[in-house]
């Protein structure tokens, strides 16, 4: 569980290559790991952004949003982590479609990247839309460009690419191109907006969810989400679901469940 390589992508996001040959040997696009930084630490889910079966490594990208990702960012190349389990979740079932739009927002760009790559490898025409608050926070641009026929970029403040949100870009794209499938990973509010754009057009749309988790193997139900009115566990039934059926409001509320506790923890540690 050694960190082989660490690269700061911007002031709040870091990339890590982890030496995990068995997980690398099995990882598929869309899967995640549960990671603990130290022995008594939290278990946090992180998407596998890349994997190299030959080198025996997986790549994760973490935004330093909570206590454990901050702790992780203090580790150096060569340091060991307390534990990583995976690959967890259902892999995305990659079936070739003629045109697939992959939409990533913020750190979600790294999560949608392996999916975009897999569709590209499968022979689909991939158009990617990636967005961030500002230019400095945009990650994985080169990686996404390599696996996309066309790459569209937006920033909230207009400091790079088009000014606005990924959904603005998506709306324009949909007026000029026939799209068979949309895949989106990013902040829940962004995925909800993507679903709102594609729903009236009946475009098959899938979102990769990031709810709170504990065990990641279906044992606790912390990650439960409502999909088509039914209770699903994101860790074992997902993390990808039909975006038109997801109750995003509920997801957003549940993601914020421990906001107060996170502040208490941050102030005392």
């Amino acid at each position: 569980m050694k960190i082989l390589h660490k690269k700061r992508l911007n002031k709040e996001t870091t990339l890590y290559d982890l030496e995990l040959p068995e997980i690398a040997g099995k990882a598929e696009p869309g899967q995640f790991v549960i990671l603990r930084v130290d022995a008594d630490g939290e278990r946090i889910p992180l998407t596998i952004a890349d994997f190299d079966r030959e080198k025996g490594t997986i790549t994760i990208v973490a935004q330093e949003a909570g206590a454990t990702t901050k702790l992780l960012s203090q580790k150096k190349a060569g340091d060991e982590l307390a534990g990583v389990s995976g690959p967890l979740g259902r892999p995305v079932d990659i079936i070739k479609k003629s045109r697939v739009v992959c939409i990533g927002g913020g750190v979600g760009i790294a999560c949608v990247y392996p999916i975009a790559r897999a569709y590209n490898d499968a022979g689909s025409e991939v158009i990617s839309v990636i967005g961030a608050r500002t230019k400095e926070l945009l990650i994985f641009e080169d990686e996404m460009r390599r696996v996309s026929k066309e790459l569209l970029i937006t920033t909230d403040d207009g400091s790079y690419g088009e000014k606005g949100f990924v959904t603005d870009c998506l709306k324009r794209l949909l007026t000029r191109a026939k799209v068979n499938l949309v895949f989106t990973v990013g902040p829940a509010i962004m995925m909800a907006e993507v679903a709102r754009v594609t729903r009236p057009l009946n475009i098959d749309t899938w979102a990769g969810l990031n709810p709170l988790m504990v065990d990641g193997s279906g044992m606790c139900g912390a990650c439960r989400v409502s999909v088509d009115g039914k209770m699903k566990f994101a860790c074992v039934d997902g993390p990808h679901f039909d975006a038109h059926q997801i109750d995003f409001e509920e997801l957003i509320a549940r993601q914020k469940m421990y906001q107060k506790e996170e502040k208490v923890y941050a102030s005392q540690n």
């Binding site: 068995e22 997980i23 099995k26 549960i34 603990r36 008594d40 630490g41 939290e42 278990r43 206590a67 454990t68 307390a82 534990g83 990583v84 389990s85 995976g86 690959p87 967890l88 504990v214 065990d215 193997s217 279906g218 044992m219 606790c220 139900g221 912390a222 439960r224 989400v225 409502s226 209770m231 074992v236 509920e250 509320a253 549940r254 469940m257 421990y258 506790e261 996170e262 208490v264 923890y265 005392q268 540690n269």
Partner: protein, 476 residues
């Protein structure tokens, strides 16, 4: 006239007032002289009805006689011949439904305290084990040294899951000369002993010691290892494992299917207990995993897990804790002793009460449950009287946290990765009496076979399977 029998020796406990604020063990255990006095009550019946009541067949009169003779090492040896985890079983077995139920003295409502005596011997043994233990242990140590090198020639058996069934099968097979690797999905071994049963009933140090004992028999434990994801069962066979034992538990929490179950502050008992026991949320904010326990907590269910959740919530500072159970105390599956402990600690029981709807506020926080009163009707398939709703009896219980402890189902994560493994209609693995599944070389036991049951039932299945695995491997 039978000889006059002295009354059963009580076990000292922390006072309810004190213990409801800490996670230390409730029962403090017998002192030596108390244990000896209790052991001397045993009539040493020739037909040994207690042994027939024990799922693992411990020579109960035998070990009790050794206690009466103050030969605790010999008592421990007898216990461990049939049970690798006596310190755990002495604490969490439902003795009142098993060995003690069959005790001849039960007719006078004073059965021998077999559980307390088992616990006494196990604790004595773990404190004195290395200084004075029977020949069994020293033989095992020699065996272990002989095989400790990496290129050992012992046949390999994989065990998936490190709960009671997994640890038992591993211990039994290690004693028979196998090299065992246990694969555990979580980061600590023990299964429900670690994530489920709280420390006030089963101290984590006891669990750790018992697992160390099994490891010392020559068992390797790989944690953070989710079989079905990182490796399939077939891949284990290609890695020189001769047989695989599946003991993954029934780790899929059930919900009620009523409105409001995804509100904030609604937990499955599995999540609630895992956060506290495995992730140590009771130490928050010294450690990072949080938990939300409000002033008023309700737990739905009537089993040991429901009681564990309620008493945990109390210890985390809840002022008012309710158990909401749709049947009456008569039908409640929780252990009688723990029911009494819970009442003494001030847990409020709302029997014959069925939740209908969970009510939240505008921020999606849970605020109340609406319930219906029930009455008991005719016996159902389980033999217990079926609860029947009383129309129009709806009422509301205000609360800040709700814990759902109505049972678990079969977790399909592993089983769905093994297409040639036959399951029943509920997703549990089908086995014969010795634990053989439909797939060659694969055996299974514990809750993933039986559905939610007791620690000792899982261990009993595991012991039978260990013998079947041994004879299977010898034939291939």
């Amino acid at each position: 006239m039978p000889p006059k029998i002295s009354p059963r020796q009580e076990i000292p406990k922390q006072s309810p007032r004190e213990r409801s604020h800490n996670f230390n063990e409730v029962a403090l255990g017998y002192a030596q002289q108390t244990a000896v006095a209790e052991a001397k009550r045993c009539l040493q019946c020739p037909d040994q009805p207690c042994v027939a009541g024990c799922p693992v067949g411990i020579d109960i009169p035998g070990f009790i006689r050794k206690i009466a003779e103050k030969n605790f090492a010999a008592a421990a040896k007898i216990l461990k011949e049939k049970n690798c985890l006596p310190a755990i079983c002495g604490r969490v077995c439902p003795q009142e439904d098993q060995c003690e139920k069959s005790c001849i003295l039960t007719q006078k409502n004073q059965p021998i305290a077999i559980g307390y005596l088992e616990r006494f011997v196990a604790d004595w043994d773990s404190q004195n084990r290395r200084s004075d233990f029977g020949s069994l242990q020293s033989t095992e140590n020699r065996e272990q040294k002989k095989y400790s090198s990496a290129n050992c020639k012992r046949p390999k058996v994989a065990v998936v899951g490190s709960g009671p069934a997994g640890l038992t099968v591993a211990g039994e097979l290690a004693k028979l000369g196998y090299y065992i690797v246990i694969f555990e999905a979580l980061h600590l071994p023990g299964g429900v002993l670690t994530y489920g049963i709280p420390g006030f009933r089963l101290p984590k140090e006891i669990v750790r010691q018992e697992i160390e004992y099994v490891k010392n028999l020559g068992v390797e434990v790989k944690t953070d290892y989710v079989i079905g994801k990182i490796k399939t069962i077939d891949e284990l066979f290609s890695q020189e494992f001769k047989a695989v034992y599946i003991a993954i538990g029934a780790g899929l929490p059930e919900f009620m299917g009523i409105a409001g179950e995804n509100l904030i502050g609604v937990y499955s008992a599995n999540e609630f207990l895992t956060r506290v026991n495995l992730m140590k949320a009771y130490l928050f904010p010294r450690i990072a995993t949080p938990i939300r326990v409000g002033r008023r907590v309700a737990v739905v269910g009537g089993g040991d897990v429901a009681l564990d959740s309620a008493r945990t919530a109390l210890r985390l500072g809840a002022e008012k804790v309710y158990i909401v159970y749709r049947r009456s105390d008569e039908e409640m599956p929780a252990r009688a002793e723990e029911f009494k402990n819970a009442i003494d600690e001030g847990i409020n029981f709302r029997f014959l009460t069925q939740p209908m709807k969970i009510i939240g506020d505008e921020k999606r926080n849970v605020r109340a449950i609406e319930c219906l009163r029930m009455k008991l009707g005719e016996p159902d398939a389980s033999g217990r009287r079926r609860p029947v709703p009383i129309a129009g009896s709806n009422f509301v219980i205000d609360l800040d946290t709700l814990i759902i402890a109505i049972g678990t189902g079969a977790n399909p994560l592993l089983t769905s990765s093994v297409p040639d493994l036959e399951l029943n209609e509920k997703g549990y693995i089908k086995v014969d009496v010795e634990g053989r599944t439909s797939k060659q070389g694969v055996f299974a036991g514990g809750d993933i076979v039986s559905g939610s049951a007791t620690v000792i039932a899982a261990m009993g299945m595991a012991k039978r399977a260990a013998l079947a695995i041994d004879s299977y491997v010898k034939k291939i």
